[in-house]
Structures are given as structure tokens and as C-alpha cells.
């Protein structure tokens, strides 16, 4: 088992770089048809930068799955992408950290022990587009070109 993530007084995981999420590891971000924007010139539909938004929780980051930890437990990268209309992208941890983000562990007990977070994205599209630029598509969301 990995070392426990740091928590605040209420038990919420606080932003951190987890030592056992290594730089050569990858995280999986789920995508949905709601994330798609349409090019007004071509009609092409692609992921918007909004797909890489942090949650609104007080200490919430961007929710991801930790791919290498899943693989170690015999799970495929898309194991937690259960909705057939959803897709997923893969992000390299070193690239995320090079952009100034923290990548840590936030286990969801009972549902997803391989769940992590990316913190530090904040508001605005600039940093989100940097994430979009390093994202590798594993499976397209329904409707994505």
C-alpha cells in the first residue's frame, strides 16, 4: 500500500505531490460529451479546455485515475470509465509537474482506490489549455471528432 496522503483536521486530503506517483507515471482524466466544443468554421467537435477544470470542493483538484497503480492491480486504463458515452485522456505526471501542478493520491474508499487529484490549475483557460496540449486520447467521448 502507498503511504497515506496528508489530510486536514476534517479528514480531507490536502494538495500534495505523492512520492509514489512517479514522474514517469500517467494519470487518466475522464471526458464526457458535455466537454465538447464545436469549431464554428469547420463544425469539428473537440474537447474544450473546460474538461480540465478542478472541482468546486474546498480542497478539490482535477479528478484522475492513477494508471500505473491500476496496472499493478491488474486493471486496464479505462476500468473506471464505465459510461459508454465517456472517453478518457492520458496525462504524463512529469509534464503536469513541470507545468507547476501537484499530483497526489485521494483514494475514494469503496469505489476507487486508484483515484488521484491534480491541484493548482485554478481558474481561467490558459493553464487548462496547457493540460489539453499534453493530453493523449485513449478513447474519444461520444460525438468527439
Amino acid at each position: 500500500m502507498p503511504a497515506n496522503p496528508p489530510r486536514d483536521d476534517r479528514g480531507f486530503v490536502i494538495p500534495h505531490n505523492h512520492d509514489e506517483i512517479l514522474n514517469h507515471h500517467h494519470v487518466i482524466r475522464h471526458t464526457t460529451p458535455q466537454d465538447l466544443c464545436r469549431n464554428v468554421d469547420t463544425g469539428e467537435r473537440r474537447l474544450s479546455s473546460g474538461a480540465f477544470c478542478e472541482s468546486g470542493d474546498e480542497v478539490g483538484g482535477m479528478s484522475v485515475d492513477i494508471e500505473e497503480w491500476m496496472a499493478a492491480d491488474g486493471l486496464a486504463p479505462l476500468h473506471y470509465v464505465t459510461d459508454p458515452s465517456h472517453g478518457a485522456v492520458r496525462l504524463n505526471v512529469a509534464e503536469l509537474r513541470a507545468l507547476g501542478f501537484q499530483v497526489g493520491w485521494d483514494p475514494l474508499v469503496g469505489t476507487n482506490l486508484h483515484h488521484g487529484e491534480v491541484w493548482g490549475i485554478g481558474n481561467g483557460s490558459g493553464r487548462r489549455r496547457k493540460i489539453a496540449n499534453i493530453a493523449e486520447t485513449l478513447r474519444k467521448a461520444q460525438g468527439e471528432d
Binding site: H30, D35, C37, S48, G50, C53, D57
Partner: protein
């Protein structure tokens, strides 16, 4: 100003029988047709109807609608997004894509071959504008205040027919 039919009189009817003795046919009175103004903007522009339809869809979303813990889009964010559009859009400006954000805000996206423009609305009176010029690679980001003219100029120059 051009009024399409304003100066055209309805033609008086021919007095074919009017000259007959004892006829009760009276002289037709020339009547100006009612002035018809240029097409008005009384009906909602396409982007407005498109936004309203999309907002209705987004308000149906439940917490964790994406299985990644996202919040429901907030009605105050949607409402402010509509206000931004009302200030910045011309009637023929292309409709943006309206994207729900994990934090309950909404994002308006105009993606084009020349320029991308994105407006993120977090809360009422709290919005960020981002633009990317694909040719030069120049990115610009600014806080949207009550001054909408830079955004309006961008949308009208790049995304308005």
C-alpha cells in the same frame, strides 16, 4: 432610411362604371400603404435561443453528472453568462459552445480557424476571458469587468457574419 412600401400608393380602381348616369360608384380614395420598416430584431437572435436551450439541458444535470465528482451548473453562473452574451454579441454573432465546468461554473467557447475565444464564468460578475490567435500563437487572458467592449470587438470581428 428605406421603407420598402411606404411611398407606393395603392392604385385607384379604374372607374369603368363610375361615369355611368345614376351610378353610385364613388371615387376611390387613394390610401397610402402602411409603412413597413426594415426587419427588426424583435425576435430573439439565434445565439439567444441556442443558449436558452443549452441552459435548460445543463440545469438537468445532477451532482457528479460526469462520474468525476463535478458540481451541478449553477443558475447564477448561467444567468451571468447570458448577461455577458447580451452585452457582447451582435444578433448575427455565432453561438458559443456552452460547457459545464466541474466547479459549477460555465465556459463559453468560440473555436475558430483563426482565433479561439473562451469566457469562463465562475460567479456573477466574476469571469475570465481567454483568446488565442492561431496564426501568431499569442494568448491573451483578462478579467471581465463591466467593460465589455474588448470582448465585443473580438467577437464581432472574428465570429460575426
Amino acid at each position: 432610411m428605406s421603407y420598402a412600401l411606404a411611398r407606393t400608393n395603392w392604385s385607384p380602381r379604374a372607374r369603368s362604371a363610375a361615369g355611368a348616369i345614376g351610378s353610385t360608384v364613388t371615387e376611390p380614395i387613394p390610401v397610402n400603404q402602411p409603412a413597413v420598416s426594415r426587419s427588426s430584431t424583435g425576435s430573439a437572435p439565434d445565439w439567444s435561443r441556442s443558449f436558452e436551450n443549452r441552459a435548460q439541458e445543463l440545469l438537468q444535470l445532477r451532482p457528479n453528472w460526469d462520474n468525476r465528482g463535478s458540481a451541478t451548473p449553477r443558475i447564477d453562473a448561467l444567468s451571468f453568462a447570458y448577461s455577458v452574451l447580451s452585452e457582447a454579441m451582435a444578433p448575427t454573432t455565432a453561438s458559443p459552445s456552452v460547457i459545464p465546468l466541474s466547479n459549477g461554473g460555465v465556459q463559453l467557447v468560440w473555436a475558430g480557424n483563426q482565433v479561439d475565444v473562451e469566457v469562463e464564468v465562475m460567479h456573477p460578475n466574476q469571469a475570465l476571458v481567454y483568446s488565442l490567435d492561431h496564426q501568431s500563437g499569442v494568448e491573451t487572458e483578462w478579467q471581465l469587468t463591466t467593460e465589455f467592449s474588448p470582448l465585443s470587438a473580438l467577437l464581432r470581428s472574428k465570429f460575426t457574419a
